[in-house]
Amino acid sequence: MKAAVITFPGSNCDRDLAVAFKAAGAEVVRIWHKDTSLPKDIDVVGIPGGFSFGDYLRCGAIAARSPIAQAVIAHAGRGGYVLGVCNGFQVLTETGLLPGALMRNAGLKFVCKSVDLRVETTDSAFTSGWSRGTIASVPIAHHDGNYTADADLVARLKAEDRIAFTYMQNPNGAVADIAGILSENRRVLGMMPHPERCIDPAQGGTDGSVLFRSLMTALVAA
Protein backbone atom coordinates (compact mmCIF):
# COMPACT_ATOMS: atom_id res chain seq x y z
CA MET A 1 0.00 0.00 0.00
CA LYS A 2 1.30 3.40 -0.93
CA ALA A 3 -0.05 6.43 0.92
CA ALA A 4 0.32 10.13 0.19
CA VAL A 5 -0.06 12.57 3.06
CA ILE A 6 -0.78 16.17 2.11
CA THR A 7 0.64 19.10 4.03
CA PHE A 8 -1.04 22.51 3.88
CA PRO A 9 0.28 25.60 5.64
CA GLY A 10 -1.19 25.13 9.12
CA SER A 11 -1.53 21.34 8.98
CA ASN A 12 -0.25 19.90 12.25
CA CYS A 13 -1.22 16.20 12.18
CA ASP A 14 0.47 15.42 8.87
CA ARG A 15 3.48 13.77 10.47
CA ASP A 16 1.33 11.73 12.86
CA LEU A 17 -0.80 10.55 9.96
CA ALA A 18 2.31 9.53 8.02
CA VAL A 19 3.60 7.63 11.07
CA ALA A 20 0.27 5.82 11.41
CA PHE A 21 0.29 4.73 7.76
CA LYS A 22 3.92 3.59 8.11
CA ALA A 23 3.18 1.67 11.31
CA ALA A 24 0.52 -0.28 9.40
CA GLY A 25 3.13 -1.18 6.80
CA ALA A 26 2.45 1.42 4.13
CA GLU A 27 5.01 3.25 2.09
CA VAL A 28 4.38 6.97 2.61
CA VAL A 29 5.15 9.98 0.48
CA ARG A 30 4.64 13.50 1.76
CA ILE A 31 3.01 15.95 -0.63
CA TRP A 32 3.07 19.77 -0.46
CA HIS A 33 -0.12 21.70 -1.17
CA LYS A 34 1.39 23.51 -4.14
CA ASP A 35 2.11 20.25 -5.93
CA THR A 36 -0.31 19.74 -8.77
CA SER A 37 -0.20 15.96 -9.06
CA LEU A 38 0.10 12.83 -6.96
CA PRO A 39 2.58 10.05 -7.74
CA LYS A 40 0.85 7.61 -10.11
CA ASP A 41 0.75 4.53 -7.89
CA ILE A 42 -0.84 6.09 -4.80
CA ASP A 43 -3.53 3.91 -3.20
CA VAL A 44 -4.70 6.23 -0.47
CA VAL A 45 -4.43 9.97 0.16
CA GLY A 46 -4.40 11.21 3.75
CA ILE A 47 -5.63 14.72 4.46
CA PRO A 48 -4.44 15.58 7.95
CA GLY A 49 -5.81 17.56 10.83
CA GLY A 50 -4.72 21.03 11.76
CA PHE A 51 -5.68 24.54 10.80
CA SER A 52 -4.98 24.76 7.09
CA PHE A 53 -4.62 28.38 6.00
CA GLY A 54 -5.46 29.49 9.53
CA ASP A 55 -9.10 28.42 9.10
CA TYR A 56 -9.54 31.64 7.11
CA LEU A 57 -12.94 32.16 5.47
CA ARG A 58 -14.21 28.70 6.62
CA CYS A 59 -12.33 25.68 7.96
CA GLY A 60 -10.87 23.83 4.98
CA ALA A 61 -12.24 26.26 2.39
CA ILE A 62 -8.92 27.54 1.07
CA ALA A 63 -7.24 24.12 1.19
CA ALA A 64 -10.11 22.68 -0.85
CA ARG A 65 -9.23 25.12 -3.67
CA SER A 66 -5.46 24.60 -3.48
CA PRO A 67 -3.54 23.10 -6.43
CA ILE A 68 -3.21 19.63 -4.85
CA ALA A 69 -6.95 19.47 -4.09
CA GLN A 70 -7.70 19.06 -7.79
CA ALA A 71 -5.37 16.06 -7.90
CA VAL A 72 -7.07 14.58 -4.83
CA ILE A 73 -10.51 15.06 -6.41
CA ALA A 74 -9.23 13.33 -9.58
CA HIS A 75 -7.76 10.50 -7.48
CA ALA A 76 -11.14 9.99 -5.76
CA GLY A 77 -12.85 10.16 -9.15
CA ARG A 78 -10.70 7.26 -10.32
CA GLY A 79 -11.89 5.22 -7.33
CA GLY A 80 -8.86 5.99 -5.16
CA TYR A 81 -9.07 5.94 -1.38
CA VAL A 82 -9.03 9.13 0.67
CA LEU A 83 -8.92 9.53 4.44
CA GLY A 84 -9.63 12.99 5.85
CA VAL A 85 -9.19 13.47 9.58
CA CYS A 86 -10.49 16.51 11.46
CA ASN A 87 -9.45 19.47 9.29
CA GLY A 88 -9.12 16.85 6.54
CA PHE A 89 -12.83 16.04 6.96
CA GLN A 90 -13.60 19.76 6.68
CA VAL A 91 -11.50 19.92 3.50
CA LEU A 92 -13.38 16.93 2.04
CA THR A 93 -16.80 18.52 2.63
CA GLU A 94 -15.52 21.78 1.13
CA THR A 95 -14.34 19.95 -2.01
CA GLY A 96 -17.73 18.26 -2.31
CA LEU A 97 -16.17 14.78 -2.09
CA LEU A 98 -18.30 14.29 1.01
CA PRO A 99 -21.74 15.83 1.57
CA GLY A 100 -22.81 18.12 4.40
CA ALA A 101 -20.73 20.68 6.28
CA LEU A 102 -18.90 21.10 9.58
CA MET A 103 -19.95 24.04 11.69
CA ARG A 104 -18.83 25.63 14.95
CA ASN A 105 -19.33 23.27 17.93
CA ALA A 106 -22.74 23.77 19.50
CA GLY A 107 -21.04 24.57 22.84
CA LEU A 108 -18.80 27.12 21.06
CA LYS A 109 -15.75 25.66 22.79
CA PHE A 110 -12.72 23.86 21.43
CA VAL A 111 -13.09 20.29 22.66
CA CYS A 112 -9.95 18.22 23.23
CA LYS A 113 -10.41 14.80 24.85
CA SER A 114 -10.81 11.12 24.13
CA VAL A 115 -14.33 10.10 23.17
CA ASP A 116 -16.06 6.78 22.68
CA LEU A 117 -17.10 6.09 19.11
CA ARG A 118 -19.48 3.42 17.93
CA VAL A 119 -18.45 1.68 14.72
CA GLU A 120 -21.63 1.89 12.63
CA THR A 121 -20.54 -0.01 9.55
CA THR A 122 -17.89 -2.57 8.76
CA ASP A 123 -18.61 -2.30 5.05
CA SER A 124 -15.58 -0.20 4.12
CA ALA A 125 -11.86 -0.70 3.75
CA PHE A 126 -11.39 1.63 6.72
CA THR A 127 -13.69 -0.14 9.18
CA SER A 128 -13.65 -3.80 8.11
CA GLY A 129 -11.32 -4.72 10.99
CA TRP A 130 -13.93 -3.87 13.62
CA SER A 131 -17.23 -5.54 14.41
CA ARG A 132 -20.35 -3.45 14.00
CA GLY A 133 -21.20 -1.83 17.31
CA THR A 134 -17.65 -1.94 18.64
CA ILE A 135 -16.86 0.98 20.92
CA ALA A 136 -13.51 2.59 20.10
CA SER A 137 -11.82 5.25 22.20
CA VAL A 138 -10.35 7.92 19.93
CA PRO A 139 -9.23 11.50 20.68
CA ILE A 140 -10.99 14.56 19.29
CA ALA A 141 -9.55 18.07 19.15
CA HIS A 142 -11.67 20.56 17.26
CA HIS A 143 -13.66 23.77 17.36
CA ASP A 144 -15.71 23.11 14.23
CA GLY A 145 -16.82 19.50 14.31
CA ASN A 146 -20.56 19.99 14.39
CA TYR A 147 -21.57 17.91 11.37
CA THR A 148 -24.56 19.46 9.67
CA ALA A 149 -26.81 17.91 7.06
CA ASP A 150 -30.47 18.31 6.22
CA ALA A 151 -32.97 15.60 7.12
CA ASP A 152 -32.96 14.15 3.59
CA LEU A 153 -29.19 13.76 3.59
CA VAL A 154 -29.13 12.16 7.04
CA ALA A 155 -31.83 9.71 5.92
CA ARG A 156 -29.82 8.90 2.80
CA LEU A 157 -26.58 8.40 4.75
CA LYS A 158 -28.42 6.01 7.07
CA ALA A 159 -30.20 4.16 4.26
CA GLU A 160 -26.93 3.72 2.36
CA ASP A 161 -25.03 2.64 5.49
CA ARG A 162 -22.58 5.51 5.01
CA ILE A 163 -22.28 6.63 8.63
CA ALA A 164 -18.95 5.15 9.67
CA PHE A 165 -18.79 6.30 13.30
CA THR A 166 -21.12 7.96 15.79
CA TYR A 167 -20.34 9.54 19.15
CA MET A 168 -21.61 7.72 22.23
CA GLN A 169 -21.85 11.13 23.92
CA ASN A 170 -22.21 13.92 21.40
CA PRO A 171 -19.43 16.47 22.09
CA ASN A 172 -20.22 19.06 19.43
CA GLY A 173 -23.88 19.02 18.43
CA ALA A 174 -23.34 16.93 15.28
CA VAL A 175 -26.60 15.82 13.68
CA ALA A 176 -27.46 12.17 14.45
CA ASP A 177 -24.25 12.02 16.58
CA ILE A 178 -22.27 11.64 13.35
CA ALA A 179 -18.47 11.49 13.80
CA GLY A 180 -17.50 10.17 10.36
CA ILE A 181 -19.09 9.42 6.99
CA LEU A 182 -18.26 7.55 3.80
CA SER A 183 -18.64 8.59 0.17
CA GLU A 184 -21.09 6.80 -2.11
CA ASN A 185 -18.40 4.40 -3.33
CA ARG A 186 -17.28 3.91 0.32
CA ARG A 187 -13.68 4.81 -0.53
CA VAL A 188 -13.60 8.32 0.91
CA LEU A 189 -13.84 8.57 4.69
CA GLY A 190 -14.04 11.84 6.61
CA MET A 191 -14.01 11.81 10.40
CA MET A 192 -13.50 14.38 13.14
CA PRO A 193 -11.77 12.04 15.66
CA HIS A 194 -8.06 11.35 15.25
CA PRO A 195 -7.30 7.63 14.73
CA GLU A 196 -3.63 8.53 14.10
CA ARG A 197 -3.40 9.77 17.68
CA CYS A 198 -4.08 6.33 19.14
CA ILE A 199 -1.93 3.79 17.34
CA ASP A 200 0.70 3.16 20.01
CA PRO A 201 0.35 2.32 23.72
CA ALA A 202 2.58 5.33 24.48
CA GLN A 203 -0.25 7.54 23.20
CA GLY A 204 -2.64 6.10 25.76
CA GLY A 205 -4.54 3.78 23.43
CA THR A 206 -4.31 1.83 20.22
CA ASP A 207 -7.90 1.70 18.95
CA GLY A 208 -7.03 3.87 15.96
CA SER A 209 -4.56 1.34 14.61
CA VAL A 210 -7.48 -0.90 13.61
CA LEU A 211 -8.42 1.61 10.90
CA PHE A 212 -4.95 1.69 9.36
CA ARG A 213 -4.55 -2.09 9.57
CA SER A 214 -8.00 -2.61 7.98
CA LEU A 215 -7.01 -0.34 5.12
CA MET A 216 -3.71 -2.14 4.67
CA THR A 217 -5.42 -5.55 4.62
CA ALA A 218 -8.06 -4.40 2.13
CA LEU A 219 -5.60 -2.74 -0.22
CA VAL A 220 -3.05 -5.53 -0.18
CA ALA A 221 -5.81 -8.05 -0.93
CA ALA A 222 -7.15 -5.89 -3.77
Partner: protein
Protein backbone atom coordinates in the same frame (compact mmCIF):
# COMPACT_ATOMS: atom_id res chain seq x y z
CA UNK B 1 -15.79 49.19 -8.81
CA UNK B 2 -16.52 47.86 -5.35
CA UNK B 3 -18.58 44.86 -4.40
CA UNK B 4 -19.89 43.89 -1.02
CA UNK B 5 -20.88 40.29 -0.30
CA UNK B 6 -23.02 39.37 2.68
CA UNK B 7 -22.76 35.71 3.69
CA UNK B 8 -25.32 34.38 6.17
CA UNK B 9 -26.28 30.95 7.37
CA UNK B 10 -29.39 29.71 5.59
CA UNK B 11 -32.68 29.97 7.44
CA UNK B 12 -33.17 26.86 9.49
CA UNK B 13 -29.45 26.22 10.01
CA UNK B 14 -28.79 26.59 13.72
CA UNK B 15 -26.32 29.40 14.42
CA UNK B 16 -24.65 28.63 17.76
CA UNK B 17 -22.69 31.89 17.69
CA UNK B 18 -25.81 33.93 17.09
CA UNK B 19 -27.50 32.11 19.96
CA UNK B 20 -24.57 32.92 22.26
CA UNK B 21 -24.69 36.60 21.27
CA UNK B 22 -28.44 36.67 21.92
CA UNK B 23 -27.89 35.12 25.34
CA UNK B 24 -25.16 37.66 26.17
CA UNK B 25 -27.40 40.53 25.11
CA UNK B 26 -30.08 39.18 27.45
CA UNK B 27 -27.54 39.06 30.26
CA UNK B 28 -26.76 42.73 29.62
CA UNK B 29 -30.41 43.61 30.06
CA UNK B 30 -31.48 43.88 26.39
CA UNK B 31 -34.66 41.90 26.82
CA UNK B 32 -36.32 42.53 23.46
CA UNK B 33 -33.99 40.48 21.24
CA UNK B 34 -35.95 37.62 19.68
CA UNK B 35 -33.18 36.24 17.49
CA UNK B 36 -29.58 36.91 16.46
CA UNK B 37 -27.94 35.59 13.31
CA UNK B 38 -24.25 36.19 12.71
CA UNK B 39 -22.72 36.35 9.26
CA UNK B 40 -19.83 37.96 7.45
CA UNK B 41 -19.23 40.80 5.04
CA UNK B 42 -16.61 40.54 2.32
CA UNK B 43 -15.59 43.67 0.40
CA UNK B 44 -13.90 43.41 -2.99
CA UNK B 45 -12.21 46.02 -5.15
CA UNK B 46 -12.76 45.04 -8.76
CA UNK B 47 -11.05 46.09 -11.95
CA UNK B 48 -14.31 45.56 -13.84
CA UNK B 49 -16.20 48.58 -15.15
CA UNK B 50 -19.38 46.86 -16.29
CA UNK B 51 -21.81 46.56 -13.43
CA UNK B 52 -23.67 43.54 -14.71
CA UNK B 53 -20.54 41.61 -15.60
CA UNK B 54 -19.06 42.46 -12.20
CA UNK B 55 -22.11 41.15 -10.40
CA UNK B 56 -22.06 37.91 -12.41
CA UNK B 57 -18.35 37.50 -11.64
CA UNK B 58 -18.84 38.06 -7.90
CA UNK B 59 -21.75 35.61 -7.85
CA UNK B 60 -19.48 33.02 -9.44
CA UNK B 61 -16.91 33.78 -6.71
CA UNK B 62 -19.59 33.19 -4.08
CA UNK B 63 -20.61 29.85 -5.58
CA UNK B 64 -17.00 28.66 -5.88
CA UNK B 65 -15.43 29.97 -2.70
CA UNK B 66 -16.90 32.84 -0.71
CA UNK B 67 -19.99 30.96 0.51
CA UNK B 68 -20.53 27.30 1.31
CA UNK B 69 -23.93 26.94 -0.28
CA UNK B 70 -24.62 23.77 1.68
CA UNK B 71 -25.22 25.90 4.77
CA UNK B 72 -24.86 29.53 3.67
CA UNK B 73 -26.69 32.04 1.47
CA UNK B 74 -25.27 35.24 0.06
CA UNK B 75 -26.23 38.58 -1.39
CA UNK B 76 -24.10 40.75 -3.67
CA UNK B 77 -24.12 44.56 -3.76
CA UNK B 78 -22.20 46.43 -6.44
CA UNK B 79 -21.32 50.03 -5.59
Amino acid sequence: MKARVHVMLKDGVLDPQGEAVKHALGTLGFSGVDAVRQGKVIELDLAATDRKAAEAEVRAMCEKLLANTVIEKYTVEIA
